[in-house]
Symmetry: C2
Subunit: 262 residues, 2 copies
Amino acid sequence: MTAEQRTEAAVGPRRRIRLTVAYDGTAYNGWQYQPNGVTIEETLNRALTELTGERIEVIGASRTDAGVHARCNYAVFDTRMRMEASRFSYALNQRLPEDIRVRRSEEVGADWHPRKCRSIKTYEYRILNEEFPDPLDRLYAHFTYLRLDVEKMREAAAYLVGEHDFRSFCSIHTQAESTVRRITALTVERNGSVIAIQISGNGFLYNMVRIIVGTLLEVGSGKYPPERVKEILEARERRAAGPTAPARGLTLTDYEFLTDEP
Amino acid sequence: MTAEQRTEAAVGPRRRIRLTVAYDGTAYNGWQYQPNGVTIEETLNRALTELTGERIEVIGASRTDAGVHARCNYAVFDTRMRMEASRFSYALNQRLPEDIRVRRSEEVGADWHPRKCRSIKTYEYRILNEEFPDPLDRLYAHFTYLRLDVEKMREAAAYLVGEHDFRSFCSIHTQAESTVRRITALTVERNGSVIAIQISGNGFLYNMVRIIVGTLLEVGSGKYPPERVKEILEARERRAAGPTAPARGLTLTDYEFLTDEP
């Protein structure tokens, strides 16, 4: 028996574990490690390192912005800890703050990488549209008292569905090589005082969902006519579009991996 | 013109203003002034004193416990400030923290007192009943992974509707003379993973709603049979009932004044 084999026996073979993670982004400076402010990623790394005794650094699927929430994001890590894969969720939740929960843990292939899979992500943006803000929804909805015309927002949204160059709907700080993306669905629904915008696609540029929402808000309040969105797409420059809507209304709600390849 | 009359002319006649108040109770030590911790009442008093330049102390309708939320509570105060009654809400919201909002302000009779009116209050208690807590609902729902039987909870709830001596469902720290109250409605509904208990009545004893919910939780999880609730009522002592459910799940949702007299 070699030294390597003895270690294997003691601590188990190396496995890759995938976590399904939900969080309230209010208190965090986004997913990805930052010099200033606590992030989701480093909070997971700390809990995993504490649990396993190994130095763990997760690979995240979607690197959500500061203040953005998630019901379904993913992270993977490698460990030699002997524990049933499904038990990591319970063990981690005991070590994580209440605003981050691991909803599921499971073993995946040793090379499986969440950002190297073809996927469809769905975001929901909630807008509270009544006379006064609701203190019980202030962390999870953007408030506006300007009466929004949902029919016009839908008309505007229709121009964005499909494959387009979304350069106008992308922060000037993007590092993306191509700004072409495919939006597979974009719906706007009113339920009482809450308007929910759901947007699904194969990938989103930096701030893309929030700039789309900011633009739809301008349409809903009557500042832009719906057909203006077609011109904004064609302009291919950020300043043509509306402002970036606040992070608090945005939640990553669904994440579907289509294949294990890009 | 007397000195009194000159003052009246300068600052306006004394009026009683009623506020409809909503709040997230998470950060507060309840409604009523306490030596320790910030309360809703003192936060309103501070904003009103700042706004009017008078020393204002509100009279609250329901003195909710620490951590309990409200969509509809009331407070009145007297002022000589010249301002359209409906404008107080806007002026106050500019001075209040985001977790307290005044939804409406209006003038009422000079002697109108919210605790001297006959009224029906409605509370909602939300329970998240699935395998893992939801970080986005952690502040507004009590979490339990124990699968609850809603049908049995309804059976148990039926014993509580009507006029009863609720001594068993009342904190031993109560100062109430009579422990007889009338529950006019008590419903238990499941919607996906969320169970909502709605309870309406003409008045509630100290911790009464939370002890009722704590008892229904014992029934739902199978610890008590539904008919046990009848025995608990008859026992007329606190220790016969279930534990006090956590404050975070509880919201005062509706408050209806039936008459201007007790």
